[in-house]
C-alpha cells in the first residue's frame, strides 16, 4: 500500500467527515434529550447560506469575519431548531412530521434557496475561506503531520466539541440529567429536572451545530454558495447517530468512515482502479443502509443506546 494514498485518504476522510461530526453531534444532543429532529438537512443549508452571506458582507480581518460568519451560521441553525422545539415540545406535534416539515421549509426548495436568491450570492466567489493551520509547526512531519497538525480550524473545533460533549454526557451532573430526560422524563421530572427546558436547550444547541456543519461547506470546503449544496449530508448525519449508538466517540469514527467512503471513489480512480464510478458515488448511501439494517437487528436484541423516550412528547400528569 502506498503511504501517500493512505494519508491523502485519511486527510479527506477527516475533511469530508467534519460536517457529519458537527451535525451528528448536534442531532445526538437533541436525541439524547428525547427530541428527534429530522430537520438537519434544512438547518445545515440555512447555516451554509447565512454563514456565506455574512462572510461576503463583513469587512475587517479575515479571521474575525470567519468567526462571525460561523456564529451567524450557528444562530441560523439554532433558530431553525427553535421552530422544531416549539412545535414538538410545546405544541407536541409529531416529531417526525415537524422535522420533515423543517427540512422542507428551510431546505433546497425553501428558505435557504430563497435567501440565496434574495441576497444574490449564488456564483459569487468567496472572499474568505478557512485554510489549513499548521499547528505547532508539525504539519510537515511525515504521515501524522498532515493528518493531525495541518487541518482547518473547523476540524480542530469539531475535535474539541467531541471531547466536550463526551465529558458533558458522562462526567457532569447536567449530562446525567440530560440522559435521564431522554430515558425516563417522568423520573427526571420527579427529581426536579425541568424536562421542557432541557429539551429546548439541547434541540437548539443541536441546531446550532447543524448550522456550523452546513457552514463548513461554504466557508471551508468550497467558498461558493449554491442551492442544496449539502446534497443529503444532513440525512446521513441522522443515520450516523443511530449507527453510533448515541455515543460521540463512535460517531466520530462513523463520520470519518463516511468521509473516507465519499472520497474513496475519486482516489481509486486517480490510482487507476477501473470500476464504474456510479458504484463509488453510491457507497456512502449503501453504507448507510447496511449500517442501519445491522444496527436495527442488534438493537432489537440488546437495545443499546436508544434513548427510551426518543420521539415521545412529554406530558406532565398533574397529581
Amino acid at each position: 500500500m502506498n503511504t501517500d494514498l493512505v494519508v491523502s485518504l485519511i486527510v479527506s476522510a477527516i475533511v469530508y467527515g467534519t460536517p457529519l461530526v458537527l451535525a451528528g453531534l448536534g442531532e445526538l444532543l437533541a436525541e439524547r434529550s428525547g427530541v428527534l429532529n429530522l430537520g438537519v438537512e434544512g438547518m445545515m443549508l440555512m447555516g451554509a447560506v447565512t454563514g456565506f452571506y455574512a462572510s461576503q458582507q463583513l469587512g475587517g480581518p479575515g479571521w474575525i469575519v470567519l468567526i462571525v460568519a460561523m456564529v451567524v451560521a450557528a444562530l441560523a441553525g439554532g433558530s431553525m431548531a427553535l421552530i422544531h422545539a416549539f412545535l414538538s415540545i410545546t405544541v407536541r406535534v409529531n416529531q417526525i412530521v415537524s422535522g420533515l416539515a423543517l427540512t422542507i421549509f428551510a431546505g433546497v426548495i425553501g428558505l435557504s434557496t430563497y435567501a440565496g436568491q434574495v441576497w444574490n450570492i449564488g456564483g459569487q466567489h468567496g472572499l474568505h475561506q478557512l485554510n489549513r493551520v499548521d499547528l505547532l509547526g508539525l504539519g510537515e512531519v511525515p504521515i501524522i503531520g498532515p493528518i493531525l497538525f495541518d487541518q482547518d480550524p473547523f476540524v480542530y473545533l469539531s475535535w474539541g466539541l467531541v471531547i466536550l460533549v463526551t465529558w458533558y454526557l458522562y462526567r457532569t451532573r447536567t449530562g446525567l440529567y440530560l440522559r435521564a430526560v431522554g430515558e425516563a422524563p417522568r423520573s427526571a421530572d420527579a427529581m426536579g429536572v425541568n424536562v421542557t427546558k432541557y429539551r429546548y436547550v439541547h434541540t437548539i444547541v443541536g441546531g446550532a451545530l447543524a448550522g456550523l456543519g452546513g457552514a463548513y461547506f461554504t466557508l471551508a470546503i468550497a467558498p461558493i454558495w449554491t442551492a442544496g449544496l449539502t446534497a443529503g449530508v444532513g440525512w446521513i448525519a441522522i443515520a450516523l447517530v443511530i449507527f453510533a449508538f448515541w455515543r460521540p466517540d463512535v460517531l466520530v469514527l462513523g463520520a470519518y468512515l463516511f468521509g473516507a467512503l465519499s472520497s474513496l471513489g475519486f482516489t481509486l480512480q486517480a490510482y487507476g482502479v477501473q470500476m464504474p464510478s456510479e458504484i463509488f458515488s453510491s457507497l456512502p448511501y449503501l453504507m448507510t443502509i447496511v449500517v442501519l439494517a445491522g444496527a436495527s437487528t442488534t438493537m432489537a436484541r440488546r437495545r443499546i443506546g436508544t434513548p427510551a423516550a426518543l420521539g415521545v412528547p412529554y406530558v406532565r400528569e398533574e397529581g
Partner: protein, 433 residues
Amino acid sequence: MSGTRTTRSVMAIAVIAALAAGCGSTGTTTAPSTGTTASVAPASVAPASVAPASVAPASVAPASSAAASVAPGASAAAAAVPSLTPDAAAKWTTSHPFKAAFIYVGAASDAGWTHAHDVGRLAVQTAFGGRVETMFKENVPEGPQCAQVITQLVNQGANIIFGTSFGFQPSFVAAAQKYPNVLFEMATGTEQSANLAEYYGAGENGDYLSGMAAGAATKNGKIGFVAPFAIPEVIREIDAYTMGARSMNPNATVQVVWTNTWFDPAKERQAAESLVAKGVDVLGDGQDSPTTGQVAAAAGLKWTGYDSNQESFAPNAWLTATTYNWGPYYTREVAAAMNGTWKTHFYYGGFNDDFVVMAPFGQSVSQATQQAILAKEAAMKAGTFDPFTGPITKQDGSIGVPAGTTLPVYTTTGLSKYSIDWFVQGVIGSAKG
C-alpha cells in the same frame, strides 16, 4: 413500550431518506413560478440519475436527414442585432409578450455552464425589452422531472423552450410531439423534428487550445482532468484537450477522474484533490463550477477552466478556458420565432461566429505559448486545422481515425464527434465513466 416502535419508525424514515439521497433527489416537487424572475429549484444538485451512454439515435426524425452532416458554423454569421418584422412588432407587445423559456440543468448562479446560458437569456431580454418575457427553471434534473417542467412552461404560455443539457433530450423529443405549436431547442443533443432544433458549438476546438496551455504549463508532464459524465460531449473534449496538451509536450498525460455530476462543489473538490495527491501539476475541468481552480490555487498548481471566464476565482492558477457565447444565438432564434421564420436546424457554432470564445490568458502563460495557441485558433477559423483529423491513435494503441479523415460533427451512420466514445492516446482513465 412505545420506545421500540418509535425507534423502528425512525429507522424506516432514515433508510428512506438515505435511499432518496442516494437517488440524487432530496426534493421532489417543482415549485411553479411565472414572470421574469427566478424560479425555485425543484430538486437538489446531487448527481443526476440519468446519463445516457451514447447519443447515437435509434431512429432519426426526417428533418435531420437533410442535415445529417453539419459543417461548423453552418447557420451562423448573422447580423449583430436581429430585427423584427412590422407584423411581429405589432403582434408581440408589452401587453402580449412573446414568451421564451429556458430549462437549466444547474443553478443560474453556478459561475459556469448555466451562468453562461443565463447571460444569453438576459441578452434576449435586453434585445427585445417588454416584447419578450423570459422565464427559467433551474436545477432541473436530467430525468422525468424535465417533462413536468416543460408541461408547466407550456401551461404558462411559453412560445419557445430552450433546454441546456444532453439528458433533457428524451423529454424534449416527447414534448415536441405533444405540443406541435411550441418551438423547442436542445443544446448538445442530436434529435430533430419540425419543431425541435439542436444547437451547440465546437467546444472541443477551444478545449484543444486549453490543452495546449496546459501542456505548456506542466513541468512533470502530468495533467489531471476533473470530468462530469462519460458521454461523447465530454469524451471528445477530453480527447481534444489531450491532443492539444501533447502538441506542446509529446510526453504529457491527462488523467481523468469522473465526478458523475455537472455541478457539486464538494465532489469536484474531492476529485481535484485526488488528482493533486496523485502528483499532477496542472488541472483542467469540464465541470460547471470553478472549484477545481480553487483546489489548484491552494496547491500552487495551474488550471484551465470551462464554460465562463472564471479567472477571478483563482487568478494565480488561471491559464485560459473555452467559453460559450449563447446570447447572440438565443437572440437570433427568438427573433426568428417572433417573425414566424423559425425553421428546425442543427446549429454548430465555432470561433468563426464568436459562439466559442477563448477566455483571456492568465499571467503565467508565456508569449510563445500564447502565439502558438493563437496560430492554431487562426488555423481553425480558416478551416485548415481540425483536432479530429487523422491519424488519431486510441488509448489502447489502435487507430481511431485514419490519416486523411476528419470526423464529421454528426452523422446518423458511423463515427462522428457526437458519438465518439473512446479516449485518445495520452489519456489515463476509463472512457466508460
